[in-house]
C-alpha cells in the first residue's frame, strides 16, 4: 500500500476528473463506463459545484465522492445534503480518504444551510454500509420503499 496519506489532497471535483473516476470505477467494477461518468460529472458540476469532492495523490485521482445539496424533495423543505456515489482506489483504501472527502462535502453542505446528509445503501452491501456507519451515518426516520411495476 503506498505510503501517501500525507500527500493526499482533497479538493472539489472538476471537469478534468472524469478520467480518474472512470479508472477507479473500472478498477472496482471491471467495466469501462466513460459515458456514464461524463454524464454524472456534468450533472454534479451543474447542480452543485463545490459539493462533490475528489482525493488526489501524485496528480492522480484516487477517490471521489459525488453529491449535492437540495431541498423540496420527499416533503423535505429544509436543504439536505445527498451523498450519492463514491469510490476509492483499492490501493488507497484504509487511509481515511473517504472520511476526509466526506468532511469536505459536509462543510459545503453546512455552508448551504443543510443540517443533515442523506444517502441510500443496499442492505446487502456490507462493505459500503460499514463505511457509511463508520463515518457517522445511522438509520433514518425516512424509509426507502420500492414497488415492482414490471410484468
Amino acid at each position: 500500500m503506498p505510503d501517501v496519506i500525507s500527500a493526499v489532497r482533497i479538493r472539489p471535483l472538476d471537469e478534468l476528473d472524469v478520467d480518474g473516476i472512470v479508472r477507479i470505477d473500472e478498477k472496482i467494477g471491471g467495466q469501462y463506463r466513460p459515458e456514464t461518468w461524463e454524464r454524472r460529472v456534468v450533472f454534479y458540476l451543474r447542480r452543485d459545484p463545490g459539493a462533490s469532492q475528489v482525493a488526489e495523490a501524485g496528480g492522480r485521482v484516487v477517490g471521489f465522492m459525488l453529491g449535492d445539496c437540495r431541498a423540496g424533495e420527499f416533503g423535505l423543505e429544509q436543504p439536505s445534503g445527498w451523498m450519492e456515489r463514491f469510490g476509492i482506489d483499492p490501493e488507497f483504501r484504509g487511509q481515511d480518504i473517504g472520511r476526509r472527502m466526506f468532511d469536505a462535502m459536509c462543510a459545503h453542505f453546512r455552508a448551504a444551510g443543510a443540517t443533515s446528509v442523506r444517502t441510500l445503501v443496499s442492505r446487502d452491501d456490507a462493505a459500503v454500509g460499514g463505511f457509511l456507519r463508520a463515518i457517522g451515518f445511522g438509520d433514518s426516520a425516512l424509509v426507502a420503499l420500492e414497488r415492482k411495476i414490471g410484468e
Binding site: Y32, V41, V42, L45, R46, P49, R70, P79
Partner: protein, 447 residues
C-alpha cells in the same frame, strides 16, 4: 443549491437595457428559459441578477496592503488603484458580453440538442456575469477615476461592443463552426476560471464577493467544452466521417494562442499583485493554465485510444499514449499526429514575449514568413484561414520579417476593439482601430 449568497438587481433602466441587448445578441435566450426544465430538470431557475457571496474574508491577503481591511468603495482606494481596477472590471464585462456574441453565431449548428442547450446555458450565465460586472460599475461612484465617464456611459459603452460578426468587414475572431463553441468553452473559459480564481482575493471586496458565484457557474462552462470534446474523440476513433481529431486540433491551434495572451504579457502582472487584486502574476498563472490544457488533451487522447482499441485496459492505453508521445510514431494505424496536442506556447503569438516569433506547432523555428504562414494555413481551419484576422496577422508578420516593422509596432498594428458610442445601449457604433505610434487611434472599420 445556493450557498450564502445575496442577489441584487440593477436599476430598472439598466436591467431593461441588458434584456434589450439579448434581443439583438442572444435571440435564443427566451428559448433557453422556456426549455430550462427540459434540459436542466430540478436545477435552480436562471436568475439575471448579481450574486454576492457572503462571509468572505474582510482582510487583504496579498500585495502592499496585505493585512489591511478590504476596500468597500472606489474612493477608499488610491487613484491609480481604482483606475486599474476599473479597467479590469470593464474588460471583464466586455469579455462576458462578447463571448455571447461569438457563441450566438454558430450555436445553431450543434449536431445535437444537448450540446446546443449546454452552450445556451453557458451564454446565459455569461450574461449574468456581464450583469454582475455592470452591477460593480453602477453600485458605487467611480466618477473620481473614470475621467468624467458616468456609470450610464460605461454601461452604454460595454453594451455597444461587439467582438466579431460575419456582417462586420474587419478584424474579428468569429467562430467558424460549432467546434469553436466547444473548444472555446474548454480553452478560453479556462482562462476565465483562472482570472476569477485569482480575483477571489481582490482588495476591493465587492469584486472579491462577486467571484465565487461566477466560479461555480464557470465549472459547468468548462465541462460544456471538455465533455463534448471527449465524446467527439470517441466518435472520431469509431470512424465517424463528420467528427475528426483534426478539426479539434485546428480549433485548439486557433484558440490556445489567444488564451495564452489573455493572461497579459508573460513578464507582467506585478501591479495586480501589488494592489492586492490578484494573487498570481501573469506568467505564473499562464504556466498553470498550460499544464491544465495538457492534462485535458491527454485525457481526450486516452478516450480516443480506448475507443479505437476497446480490448486495451487503462494501463495499456496509457502505455501506448506515452509511447506515441515519446516516439511520435505510429501504433497499429494510429499516428501521433492523429492525437491532439497543446501547441507550443510560442506558436502563432502576436502579443507578449513570444509575439511574431514564427514558432511552429511543436516548437520548431521558421526563418521565412511565407513558410510560416503556410504552416499556419495547414494547421488552422479553412474558414479561419480565409479570415481578415489572419490576413492582418500575415501582413504584420511579413513586415516584421522584412525588418520594416518592429515587433512592438506589429503588436500595435493588430486591430482591436476600442471606444464605441451611440445613444441606444445596443448601438452598432463599434469601431475597430489600430493604435498609431503616437498613441492615437486610426479607425479601420466602422459598423
Amino acid at each position: 443549491m445556493a450557498l450564502k449568497v445575496e442577489t441584487r438587481g440593477l436599476e430598472k433602466k439598466y436591467h431593461d437595457a441588458v434584456e434589450h441587448w439579448t434581443r439583438h445578441n442572444f435571440k435564443d435566450y427566451p428559448v433557453l428559459l422556456a426549455s430550462w426544465d427540459k434540459y436542466f430538470p430540478q436545477d435552480e431557475p436562471f436568475c439575471l441578477c448579481a450574486k454576492l457571496e457572503l462571509g468572505t474574508p474582510d482582510t487583504i491577503s496579498v500585495g502592499e496592503l496585505k493585512g489591511e481591511k478590504k476596500r468597500l468603495k472606489p474612493g477608499e482606494m488610491s487613484e491609480s488603484q481604482a483606475q486599474h481596477l476599473l479597467a479590469i472590471i470593464k474588460a471583464q464585462a466586455s469579455t462576458e458580453f462578447g463571448s455571447i456574441q461569438q457563441h450566438a453565431g454558430t450555436v445553431d449548428r450543434a449536431r445535437d440538442d444537448e450540446d446546443k442547450f449546454w452552450v445556451l446555458r453557458v451564454m446565459a450565465e455569461e450574461l449574468r456575469h456581464g450583469y454582475q460586472m455592470l452591477h460593480l460599475l453602477l453600485s458605487e461612484d467611480w466618477s473620481g477615476v473614470s475621467g468624467g465617464v458616468t456609470g450610464e456611459q460605461m454601461v452604454e459603452e460595454i453594451l455597444s461592443m461587439t467582438t466579431g460578426s460575419h456582417v462586420l468587414d474587419s478584424f474579428n475572431l468569429d467562430y467558424d463552426s460549432f467546434v469553436d463553441n466547444i473548444v472555446f468553452a474548454a480553452c478560453i473559459d479556462r482562462v476565465g476560471k483562472y482570472q476569477l480564481t485569482m480575483q477571489k482575493v481582490c482588495a476591493y471586496k465587492p469584486m472579491a464577493d462577486s467571484m465565487p458565484p461566477m466560479l461555480r457557474e464557470e465549472a459547468f462552462h468548462l465541462a460544456a467544452g471538455v465533455i463534448p470534446m471527449r465524446r467527439w474523440a470517441q466518435k472520431a476513433a469509431a470512424g465517424d466521417p463528420f467528427v475528426t481529431m483534426t478539426m479539434m486540433q485546428h480549433a485548439l491551434n486557433k484558440w490556445v494562442p489567444r488564451g495564452l495572451e489573455m493572461f497579459g504579457d508573460e513578464r507582467g502582472g506585478d501591479t495586480n499583485v501589488k494592489f492586492g487584486f490578484k494573487d498570481m502574476k501573469n506568467g505564473e498563472a499562464q504556466a498553470l493554465y498550460v499544464e491544465e490544457l495538457k492534462k485535458m488533451v491527454r485525457d481526450v487522447n486516452a478516450r480516443f485510444l480506448r475507443a479505437r482499441f476497446p480490448e486495451y485496459g487503462p494501463e495499456q492505453a496509457e502505455q501506448v499514449l506515452a509511447e506515441l508521445e515519446r516516439t511520435r510514431d505510429v501504433h497499429r494505424g494510429v499516428h501521433f499526429s492523429d492525437l491532439l496536442r497543446v501547441p507550443d506556447v510560442r506558436f502563432f503569438r502576436r502579443k507578449g514575449e513570444n509575439a511574431f516569433r514564427m514558432t511552429g506547432l511543436d516548437g520548431e523555428s521558421y526563418e521565412d514568413a511565407d513558410a510560416y504562414l503556410r504552416h499556419l494555413a495547414a494547421n488552422l481551419n479553412d474558414g479561419y484561414v480565409a479570415s481578415r484576422d489572419l490576413r492582418n496577422y500575415a501582413e504584420a508578420l511579413r513586415e516584421v520579417a522584412a525588418g520594416t516593422k518592429t515587433v512592438e509596432e506589429a503588436v500595435r498594428a493588430m486591430p482591436r476593439l476600442k471606444r464605441v458610442g451611440g445613444s441606444c445601449p445596443c448601438s452598432k457604433g463599434v469601431r475597430w482601430v489600430m493604435e498609431s505610434p503616437g498613441g492615437g487611434q486610426e479607425t479601420v472599420a466602422v459598423r
